[in-house]
């Protein structure tokens, strides 16, 4: 008998994490950015819970996504019978003006998430970040406790090994749950291909350009690409030396802009 292949193993781990989250963290919700990663989580949740997504799915909306994103959201929410909750983020004028301009959309989402947690009292939110996306995300835990302000105390993260996760937190603390932490960008696309998971058409090249990472339309730029099918995307990524988030302007404005966003609560 051959051993499990890499996607089977990643899938099994993520299903395990989602089932732990569902059983041990209540109330629980999930953030859906409508991108390829969190859409893959929805698919994995349907695997874990035999066809249903048993928690509310929240979109933190800035009303700045591209129209294709909203179309895709509404189609999938209906087809998969999601308990979708769209939450409007506070306006840009309300966030820290010392942040560089492209980081302010992220700060709006951070603020939107804080309000969501305050108003709906979630103990846990499932978030689709991965270690390989960004070097500070690489340092995350799968179950990561945050204060109500969302602060990430990188110096004192709880020990996490052998499938033991921190699921009990005191009042005022919530958990960010990261079931895709060990997946890479190519893993996600190979899984999309294998499972035939629907995704937003913006990822496919049109007129020589495609989006590799989906963010707000004013701060995200498409990359030059002819990859118009999934196998072509996978081949392109296997060969590229460009980082995934190169099109996300907020990441590179200052050396520490991403870490500053994350320690103050960004995903």
């Amino acid at each position: 008998m051959t051993r499990l292949n890499d996607l089977d193993e990643l899938e099994a781990e993520t299903v395990y994490i989602l089932r732990e989250a569902k059983r041990c963290v209540d109330p629980l919700s999930m953030l859906w950015s409508i991108g390829k990663d969190s859409t893959a989580i929805l698919w994995l949740a349907r695997k874990a819970f035999f066809g249903v997504v048993p928690f509310p799915v929240v979109q933190l909306d800035t009303e700045m996504e591209l129209p294709e994103v909203y179309e895709f959201r509404d189609r999938i929410a209906a087809e998969w019978d999601l308990d979708l909750r769209v939450r409007m983020c506070p306006p840009e004028s309300s966030v820290d003006q010392s942040l560089p301009p492209a980081s302010r959309a992220a700060a709006r989402k951070t603020e939107g998430l804080k309000r969501l947690l305050e108003e709906d009292g979630y103990r846990g939110v499932i978030v689709g970040i991965r270690r390989d996306e960004q070097a500070t995300r690489a340092k995350e835990r799968i179950f990561s406790p945050r204060s109500s302000e969302g602060d990430w105390d990188v110096r004192r993260q709880p020990a996490e090994f052998w499938g033991h996760y921190t699921t009990e937190v005191p009042d005022g603390v919530h958990l960010r749950i990261h079931p895709l932490l060990h997946w890479t960008e190519v893993d996600i696309w190979r899984y999309h291909e294998r499972e035939n998971i629907p995704f937003c058409s913006l990822y496919l090249a049109r007129d020589g350009k495609r989006y590799r990472s989906l963010g707000e339309k004013n701060i995200t730029v498409p990359i030059v690409s002819d990859a118009a099918t999934l196998p072509e995307i996978i081949a392109e990524l296997e060969a590229t030396r460009e980082p995934e988030r190169a099109g996300r302007l907020m990441d590179s404005e200052q050396e520490d802009s991403f870490e500053r966003l994350r320690t103050s609560g960004y995903m």
Partner: protein, 605 residues
């Protein structure tokens, strides 16, 4: 595709782990475009020479202090094989973080500074690698440029490192002379070490293998949860080891419920009759057995031991030492047990290997903890020839130790002296069988009223009978318990044990407790054995609330009583009741008659 080979870089702080990984990524062409230029700019800003470690040390605090604070994982590809490199911090205070990364590794690279030599954390990490069961280790002697690429210095450190790892039970695969900052012997053979003919670091990594996946071991699936789908109950979990097939005879430890596998449940996949180690699946069974989170499913002839006392070789992570008599929580995946520390053995400093006193176990010592469980937990022990269970020890919510189970004792350390009077003799004298008549139902459903009426009727017909209810145990036997979930479960367990003793003495014990949780009732059934009868006293919530004989619902509704069953705490309606008595529709006399007829029937000799 096979999964990437996972390699942890371990060793003392500042011996160059992150630098070696950063440079290795550069040498293998794995860094994204512009990264080298970005590093140069960041390094210049800080007034330091080009710092490869900044690829991984992305946090500002890490860059400012030039140390790694937390574990990172990076991926690269070389000669069509994928690698996941885990960078672990080398600082003493950060062993907890190191453990998180190292626990999942297939192999380790132990980095040793040629100038400083084998240091405190080098020794500690070597020990930890051994405890984690990592069998493949490569030694990289770094900063050889700082000692003029001296062959003798390398040879001396190589043999010292080999001896160290051998003492931790590990045979070193290769030792390599390296200068990480300049890239010597990472990917290309260095002209500066003409005396060295062995492989480069990447060559050594290419020769490593992935850990086996334990498919050949005994079946172990720790149940995470039980889902209902129509009438079916699906036990879900990830298979730790072994293989399961439809039709297999299984047993769920610790309760010992046995059944056969009816189906293996997966979503959106063609049906398959087998599942193996590593898979997350669901199982259904041919019998409605009781299964709950934390139970272990194994084959009937090859199940784990339900441990009541065991020893585990642990890495003690906390600054406050363990104290004999102290209570902890032990977790093994979803299985949890409350334990009491009974003894501390073989405490040693994990770096110097100097013995430590049992009453002063230092942080990061290795120690063998002898633990007694208050509730049994299914485990496998190394001393029993099994792949050992790996446990996490918690004090409150803080992880204070991780370890592997060594020896297990399943028998309670009591020696029961055989009675000279047998249960059948007692039952013959009483004229009926001993039994536990366990009434469950919402507050106000009529349990106590029926229990007392039944006791009167049975007594009047000559039976030996006694009612256990809240009032006669809460004031005495259980006066040390409060109404927290843990203590409520303990309350039920003690009542079940007392009821079982009464039944053993030939009496009919009637209990009247809400006992809302299926798990508690299962423990009661387990304690009492064959003479246990679960009776569901059924009345809908509205009826119970209207009766409200003790005014409790009113107080619960006003928030005066927290977590009140039916209002603010769940009642898991039994699916395994031996009799249902519906008191919403029948009066007390009719219900008593129904109950009496049942009890007389099941206790008849």
């Amino acid at each position: 595709m096979v999964r990437p080979l996972r390699i942890v870089f371990a060793g003392h702080v500042d011996h160059g782990k992150s630098t070696m990984i950063g440079r290795l990524l550069h040498e293998t062409g794995s860094l994204p475009d512009g990264k080298a230029a970005e590093l140069e700019a960041i390094s210049r800003k800080r007034g330091v020479p080009l710092e490869w470690s900044f690829v991984l040390d992305a946090l500002q605090a890490e860059r400012d202090q030039a140390i790694t604070i937390d574990t990172t994982r990076v991926w690269f590809r070389w000669n069509d094989r994928r690698y996941a490199i885990i960078d672990a911090p080398g600082h003493r205070e950060l062993v907890k973080n190191m453990l998180g990364g190292a626990a999942e590794a297939d192999a380790a690279v132990l980095v040793v500074d040629a100038v400083e030599g084998i240091s405190e954390q080098t020794r500690r990490h070597a020990r930890l690698i051994g405890l984690l069961g990592i069998e493949q280790v490569v030694v990289a002697v770094n900063k050889l440029d700082a000692v003029g690429f001296d062959r003798e210095i390398f040879a001396g450190l190589e043999s010292e490192a080999r001896a160290l790892l051998e003492s931790a039970g590990i045979a070193v695969a290769k030792a390599i002379p390296v200068s990480a900052r300049d890239g010597d012997n990472l990917v290309a053979a260095s002209p500066r070490t003409p005396w060295y003919a062995g492989s480069t670091l990447i060559g050594a990594l290419e020769a490593l293998e992935s850990k086996g996946d334990d498919t050949d071991g005994p079946l172990r699936m720790r149940v995470q949860d039980v889902y209902r789908s129509g009438d079916a109950r699906i036990a879900v979990g990830r298979i730790d080891s072994g293989t399961v097939k439809v039709g297999d005879a299984i047993v769920a430890t610790p309760l010992g419920s046995a059944a056969c596998v009816r189906s293996i449940e997966r979503w959106n996949l063609p049906a398959s009759g087998t599942a193996r180690a590593g898979e997350s699946i669901g199982l259904t069974f041919d019998l409605p057995i009781f299964i709950d989170r934390g139970d272990v499913i194994g084959h009937t002839d090859d199940a784990p031991i339900s441990a009541s006392r065991f020893r585990a070789v642990c890495f003690w992570l906390d600054a406050r030492p363990p104290v004999v008599g102290e209570s902890f929580r032990v977790q093994c995946g979803p299985s949890v047990a409350r334990v009491t520390l009974r003894a501390i053995h073989d405490a040693v400093d994990s770096s110097s290997l100097a013995p430590l006193s049992a009453d002063a176990v230092e942080q990061y010592a290795t120690v063998s903890l002898e633990l007694e469980t208050r509730t049994p937990i299914p485990l496998d022990g190394r001393a029993h020839g099994m792949r050992p269970s790996r446990i996490v020890v918690l004090r409150g919510s803080e992880v204070v130790a991780g370890g592997v189970v060594d020896t297990i004792d399943s028998s309670v350390t009591l020696f029961a002296t055989a009675h000279l009077v047998t249960r059948p003799e007692r039952e013959t004298r009483n004229g009926h069988r001993g039994a536990v008549i366990w009434l469950t139902g919402l507050s106000g459903s009529g349990k106590s009223t029926l229990a007392m009426a039944l006791e009167r009727r049975l007594f009047d017909t000559g039976s030996t009978v006694f009612v256990l209810d809240g009032d006669n145990v809460r004031g005495g036997l259980n006066r040390d318990l409060d109404f927290s979930p843990v203590d409520r479960a303990e309350n039920i367990r003690r009542v079940a044990e007392v009821a079982a003793l009464l039944a053993e003495s030939g009496a009919i014990a009637i209990t009247a407790f809400i006992s809302p949780m299926a798990s508690d009732r299962a423990i009661a059934r387990q304690a009492a054995g064959a003479g246990f009868h679960l009776i569901h006293i059924l009345a809908d919530l509205a009826t119970c609330e209207a009766r409200d004989p003790k005014g409790l619902y009113k107080r619960a509704r006003s928030g005066e009583i927290e977590s009140f069953t039916g209002i603010s705490a769940p009642y898991e309606g039994p699916t395994d009741a031996d009799l249902v008595v519906d008191t919403s529709h029948a009066g007390i006399d009719v219900s008593t008659e129904q109950l009496l007829a049942y009890v007389i029937g099941v206790t008849r000799l």
